[in-house]
């Protein structure tokens, strides 16, 4: 379209006098593409004193007409009517009549606009809702724990109802397939701790104690903590997303109507797989971290592997190892429960799926760290 042609299509209104009567004469394209211009023209016709008096609008000269043009014309006539004036539409082409007729019926209902609430009230409301949410989350957590407990009890009574295939499948996904990345990360962390230890301890000649630090830290705390955080991010998020999208597509409702228990079929195998996988991954991760620490001690600290192992033998006991391993299944349970209950909270939209997946990861990492703290106090008080 040349600019000249485009210009000639610009909608406008002018006045003309015919038979002693002022009329508005419309021209140009009254269409979506010119809607912004058209709105200005129509609003001007409502405020401009020269145009305001007209009681007739002649639509003969328009180039094109669509819903946008029809609605703005309707808006103009309605504004006139509201002021008690009349505006007759003349000479609108036959084929556009139906459209004008159609928009004549719409937007009749007054839409109520919600009153604005002040920022202070909204902030307070946010705090209130957050507290309520925390309470609801706690209830939900206990609920899920109970449902899983019930599913375990049912399974124990009828062992054949246990979904072994599904459990093995999830074990493969959250356990076996996670091994390479877990080994890599824990190996690097073990190495970094050892390097930092040598760098700082060397200043006061305490090189030997690096082995104690690496051994105790890795076996008691870091091994299980890092693995649990990795698993929460890797597997917890995928649990939430899977269960959430099944919820969205009514698959969970479908299971329920077939007389099948979604907890036993979907959630239990997943949580069981996590509870089995996390201790194993923790063990592998701890070994990899010790290996990384030993390697750095040899290459960076100049401590031969024989000495490292001998030192490690003196520094750590089975207790340290036990402390780490005991924590693992509990953390797995927390991750599993949070992931499943967040998945079940997903509503219909894609946005809510993303939101619950994020919440699931954030909450399970938080819970893992809180649990670790509680265990630290517990083990300290029983002298482990």
């Amino acid at each position: 379209m040349s600019s000249e042609a485009a210009l000639s299509l610009l909608p406008y209104l002018r006045t003309a006098v015919r038979d002693g009567e002022t009329e508005l004469v419309a021209a140009g394209a009254w269409t979506a593409g010119h809607a912004a211009e058209l709105e200005r023209v129509v609003d001007a016709a409502d405020s401009d004193p020269a145009l305001k008096r007209a009681t007739v609008i002649n639509m003969h000269g328009i180039e094109a007409f669509d819903t946008y043009g029809a609605w703005l014309l309707e808006r103009l006539t309605r504004a006139r009517h509201a002021r008690g004036q009349d505006l007759r539409v003349l000479d609108l082409a036959e084929r556009y009549q139906g459209l004008l007729e159609e928009v004549h019926h719409v937007n009749r209902e007054a839409v109520e606009i919600k009153p604005q609430v002040s920022i202070a009230v909204r902030a307070l409301e946010g705090v209130g809702r957050a507290v309520e949410d925390i309470g609801r989350d706690l209830v939900m957590f206990v609920n899920m724990l109970g449902a899983l407990g019930l599913a375990v009890a049912t399974t124990l009574m009828k062992p054949r109802s246990f979904r072994l295939t599904s459990t093995v499948h999830h074990l493969d996904r959250v356990g076996w397939q996670a091994v390479p990345i877990i080994l890599l990360i824990t190996f690097l962390i073990g190495g970094i701790i050892a390097q930092q230890g040598f760098f700082h301890f060397r200043k006061f000649g305490a090189d030997d104690y690096v082995v104690d630090m690496v051994g105790i830290l890795v076996l008691r705390e870091l091994g299980v903590l890092i693995v649990a955080i990795m698993v929460a991010g890797r597997s917890g998020s995928s649990y939430t997303a899977e269960i959430g999208s099944m919820k969205m597509r009514e698959e969970i409702d479908a299971l329920r109507t077939m007389g099948l228990d979604p907890v036993g079929i979907l959630l239990l195998p997943r949580v069981v797989a996590l509870v089995i996988a996390l201790p194993l991954l923790t063990f592998l991760g701890s070994m990899a971290a010790l290996y990384g620490g030993g390697l750095v001690a040899w290459l960076y600290g100049g401590m031969s592997p024989e000495i490292f192992i001998a030192r490690l033998n003196e520094a750590i006991s089975v207790t340290h190892f036990k402390v780490g391993m005991i924590k693992a299944p509990f953390m797995a349970l927390a991750i599993g429960i949070v992931a499943c209950s967040e998945g079940l909270k997903v509503k219909g939209s894609a946005e809510s799926l993303g939101l619950q997946t994020t919440t699931s990861v954030v909450k399970s990492i938080f819970l893992v760290i809180v649990l670790d703290g509680l265990f630290a106090m517990f083990f300290a008080s029983i002298g482990m």
Binding site: A36, A64, Y68, W71, V103, V106, E109, G348
Partner: protein, 266 residues
């Protein structure tokens, strides 16, 4: 829309020698099709015969192996991005599942194309979007609902309102009445007919609904073995001798329909 009169002779969609396939499976095999301006064309075919593939190829969602497709006189394969976007403004698509954006309300869904393609004040955008919702038979109150709160029929209506948001010249409807009860389906057919008449639309409709083929479609095209095996008014289709056509239109449900039609004629 205003150009309809001048361009009547040129088809809205012209497909020539189209080949589309996946891997070594050829779905559309040297297919030809013309959709006239201002008509409602119903497109039928068995499940998996490639109806949706054809629709998706025409609107450019699937690549073609061979052939030309002209939509509203524009060959999408030959034009740049700007021309493509300009063309996309002139058509609307209703997907089978509605494909509403799940995090936006019904009203916002209708406003998406307006916001992207037009320069409009918030007021006009709101008013026209509400007008569109009312034109497809919803109320202003439904506008604030999220897609997850809408029933199947309402979802289709909102999706239709969104497809019509820019006052397109051409709309593609993929099984618009599937999943609706017969009353809702009948209403929907009538709605499409009314809108087609008031807005001067060309409608390309994939459907399995014999009723809507009969009541709203000007012409019906049948797809089998990767080709359009017949195209014409419903009455002609029922007389076709092609075995698939016989099975489709003379099957139990087709027979019931034609019996009722002949009863109505006498």
């Amino acid at each position: 829309m205003q150009m309809v009169a001048q361009l009547d002779d040129e088809p809205a969609i012209r497909v020539r020698d189209l080949v589309v396939g996946f891997g070594d499976r050829v779905v559309l095999d040297h297919l030809d099709l013309d959709v006239r301006r201002g008509e409602i064309l119903g497109f039928v075919g068995g499940s998996g015969s490639g109806k949706s593939v054809l629709m998706r190829t025409i609107i450019g969602l699937l690549p073609k192996r061979q052939g030309t497709i002209e939509v509203l006189g524009v060959d999408l394969a030959r034009v740049g991005d700007d021309a493509r976007r300009a063309l996309e403004r002139r058509w609307g698509v209703l997907f089978q599942q509605g494909a509403l954006f799940s995090s936006l309300t019904a009203l916002q869904n209708v406003q998406v194309p307006m916001r992207e393609h037009l320069v409009l004040s918030e007021r006009v955008m709101r008013e026209v979007a509400l007008a569109k919702l009312e034109m497809v038979g919803l109320t202003a109150r439904d506008g604030d609902k999220l897609p997850s709160e809408l029933s199947g029929g309402m979802t289709k209506r909102v999706a239709l309102a969104r497809a019509l948001a820019l006052d397109p010249e051409l709309v593609f409807l993929d099984e618009p009445t599937s999943g609706l009860d017969p009353i809702a389906a009948g209403d929907f057919d009538e709605l499409i007919r009314t809108l087609q008449q008031t807005l001067g639309l060309t409608v390309f409709m994939v459907t399995h609904d014999l009723e809507s083929l009969d009541t709203v479609c000007d012409r019906v095209a049948a797809l089998a073995e990767g080709k359009v095996i017949a195209i014409g008014p419903m009455s002609e289709m029922q007389r076709s001798s092609h075995p698939w056509m016989q099975a489709y239109f003379q099957g139990k449900r087709g027979r019931m329909l034609s019996r009722r039609l002949s009863a109505m004629e006498t």
